[in-house]
């Protein structure tokens, strides 16, 4: 059994060997991975690319040793493994702790509520003696750039990028020979993405561990890796590995193939539909106006009998939403962009200032969208949330689309059109929760549009999306804009803002108010 560290305490990088390896998850009919032949030398840095369904996540989970136990239940539907997958010559399950895995959702990468405890967690599980643990914690925090945080700093107060770096520190404290990253920056804003990438680069330079990273956005990792492996859904006819080689060669050879698969090839911005006619600023009828708006997510609380005044995350913001015009809301994390958008949409109550709907929009429902009934709201202002699953209300895709029209009593004819336009026809009977990420995003946009609102508000619509879904969304919004709908989008994505055109409302993080 090869130790993770040699006698001097330096990390021994791990080697990976896969021979005809395949895995079928319990309860599924088709294998997630089939016929994988791959060799990764110690210290190599590999970027895994491929269309969704190629089994990239499954491979990473297998390497980390966390794929479900094979002897789970004695019924048909057992998980099934074929071929061999070896880390340092032994199955990964026997080498748990040799590899560190980081996943996409920053919130679930954190285990304990204090920074120091969370980093120590992995080392504790590996039965590292107590006096050796805390020095490792300090070292790991310094390596990822979080040494300035006190050890009892609450982990819930960290930003997304900081949480991912904390997860990396927790992994480093285990002194792993293999670092596995499964879309680690998909849920982060641009600053967070660079933070994490730089922390990984520093750690790799220091430890020389083997790296396998899965990510859509190639430009972030291109200069860090020395090899790109492109996977495809394997079967008896096709091997799982499509392409394998140095980054420059693979990217030039397979550029069009990768772009077609939705990978963000460096230097490639997908083509989107241009607007038929770009309206002048101020043109188009005014639909919604925010005046000196102060917003907050918190509910008013009482302390005894007095109301505690809410501290707004952002205040004094004014904006106008006009028909056929796009408005992009940008700014750093924590500036209150989403909160502002939700208040504009009539879903949150303003802390100060007001949101007014003109007669064109309200059509007699009243001037304050917050006071509208839900049925009135959906036919006037449609809001697409960041997490599509939050908006699913039925058990079938078709019912989801018919939900709005049924409540309104009209509009069922639009459903057919939306199904086709957003490529959901073959999914009509599926349960919404079982769809892929891109399909869920398209579905959530379609369901909101089925009620034919005049204003469409989207919260981070392109987060973590591959290039194809991105292009589709941008083109579709361009169509809507030409049709007279007003579009408001909260986004970090500079390219998306450009593709939308229209005005930009930039928000800055408010100055801290002295208590």
């Amino acid at each position: 059994m090869a130790p993770s560290q040699d006698a001097s305490g330096t990390v021994q990088p791990a080697a990976i060997a896969a021979r005809g390896w395949g895995w079928r998850h319990a309860g599924r009919a088709k294998p997630a991975v089939h016929g994988l032949d791959l060799d990764i030398a110690p210290g190599e840095r590999v970027l895994l690319l491929g269309p969704s369904g190629a089994g990239k996540s499954t491979l990473l989970h297998a390497l980390a040793g966390v794929l479900g136990d094979i002897n789970d239940d004695g019924e048909a539907g057992d998980a099934d493994e074929s071929g061999s997958l070896l880390v340092d010559g032994a199955p990964p399950r026997a080498r748990r702790g040799r590899a560190g895995l980081m996943q996409q959702d920053p919130e679930t990468q954190v285990v304990l509520s204090r920074v120091g405890d969370d980093v120590a967690f992995g080392a504790e599980n590996l039965a590292v003696p107590r006096d050796a643990i805390w020095p490792r914690v300090h070292e790991a925090l310094a390596d990822v750039g979080l040494a300035h945080l006190p050890l009892d700093h609450p982990t819930s107060a960290l930003s997304g990028g900081q949480k991912q770096r904390l997860a990396l520190a927790g992994i480093l404290a285990m002194r792993p020979g293999l670092i596995l990253l499964d879309e680690p920056t998909a849920n982060l804003d641009p600053d967070g993405v660079l933070e994490v990438r730089d922390a990984v680069a520093r750690s790799l330079d220091k430890t020389g561990a083997t790296l396998v990273v899965v990510e859509h956005r190639v430009s972030v990792w291109k200069d860090l890796v020395d090899r790109i492996v492109v996977l495809q859904p394997g079967s008896a006819a096709d091997p799982a590995v499509l392409l394998d080689g140095p980054p420059d060669r693979v990217l030039t050879e397979a550029r069009s193939m990768l772009a077609a698969a939705g990978v963000w090839v460096p230097g490639y911005v997908p083509a989107t539909r241009a607007r038929a006619a770009v309206p002048a600023p101020g043109a188009g009828s005014l639909l919604l106006a925010a005046e000196q708006l102060g917003v907050s997510r918190e509910r008013p609380r009482r302390k005894g009998f007095r109301k505690i005044p809410l501290v707004p995350v952002q205040e004094g913001v004014s904006a106008q939403v006009r028909a056929g015009q796009a408005l992009a809301i940008t700014g750093a994390n924590g500036a209150g962009k989403s909160t502002f958008a939700l208040t504009l949409a009539g879903l949150l109550e303003p802390v100060s200032g007001k949101v007014s709907a003109t007669l064109d929009l309200s059509r007699g429902a009243g001037i304050d969208p917050y006071k509208w009934k839900a049925e009135q709201l959906i036919s006037r202002v449609g809001t697409v949330f960041q997490e599509p699953e939050h908006q699913f209300v039925t058990g079938k895709v078709l019912d989801e689309l018919l939900f709005g029209p049924r409540h309104l009593g009209h509009g069922e004819d639009r459903v057919e059109e939306l199904l086709e336009r957003l490529r959901l026809t073959q999914l009509v009977d599926a349960n919404p929760y079982t769809l892929s990420g891109g399909e869920k995003r398209r579905l959530s946009v379609a369901t909101v549009l089925a009620a034919s609102p005049q204003v469409l508000i989207l919260d981070e619509p392109t987060f973590g999306q591959d290039a194809n879904t991105w292009a589709e969304l941008a083109s579709f919004l361009s169509e809507l804009l030409d049709g007279g709908t007003a579009v408001v989008a909260v986004t970090h994505d500079a390219e998306f803002t450009e593709a939308l055109g229209g005005a930009e409302l930039r928000m800055a993080v408010a100055e801290a108010v002295a208590p």
Partner: protein, 207 residues
């Protein structure tokens, strides 16, 4: 020492994912019920003023974590574990019952657990769920009426009986039927694919 010892597992022993999901379902159940309680205060206050045992009708909500947890995880001890964790959550949120909420939670969980144990942890259909919910409700009624820390300890016999009947009924409907329906719905979303209940959506209702 760089690799973790691997424990051998059988299908009746708890994996890490069983533990964490059971705990979070229990806690989420506590959050849901707390939110519901706030909303139902307008309903329960007049109930309490008029004839307190009526509040037994709402008691079933407290038992949902236990039955639901078992229906999802399907391993021995799930009902007991989830109810106790939910009770711990209540304690952390500042329950009006103080530390006694832990005992109450344990006893309620025990009621459901006994039913599932009688069926050797192999049957999770609607009748068993209803029975488990009813048993949890029954134990809840007993706990509230006869345990020293019970809120109804000083009631007269007839009122205690009325309460126990209502909690049993509420347990069967809210904890039993609702949890069973929820499990089927959850299975259909595919979110239970890691658990023994992954096929719950297509299981027969009665056998």
């Amino acid at each position: 020492m760089s690799t973790a010892a691997i424990k051998k597992t059988t299908s009746k022993s708890w994996r890490v994912v069983d533990i964490v999901v059971a705990a979070l379902v229990a806690i989420a159940g506590g959050v849901i019920f707390w939110a519901w309680d706030q909303g139902a205060a307008a309903l329960s206050a007049p109930m309490n003023a008029a004839y307190p045992p009526l509040t037994g009708l709402l008691a079933g909500g407290w038992m949902i974590p236990g039955v639901l947890g078992m229906l999802i995880i399907r391993k021995p001890g799930a009902a007991l574990f989830c109810e106790t964790v939910a009770a711990t959550g209540e304690l952390l949120m500042g329950s009006q019952y103080g530390a006694s909420v832990l005992f109450s939670g344990f006893i309620q969980g025990l009621g459901a657990e006994i039913i599932f144990a009688i069926f050797v942890y192999r049957k999770f259909n609607l009748p068993v769920s209803l029975l488990a919910g009813a048993a949890a409700g029954f134990f809840c009624g007993l706990n509230d009426s006869f345990a020293p820390w019970g809120w109804n300890i000083a009631y007269s016999g007839a009122d205690k009986l009325a309460y126990i009947v209502l909690t049993t009924l509420s347990g069967a409907i809210l904890a039993g039927a609702l949890s069973w329906l929820a499990t089927r719905g959850l299975a259909r979303t595919g979110v239970l694919s890691s658990f023994a209940s992954r096929k719950a959506a297509t299981e027969p209702v009665f056998s």
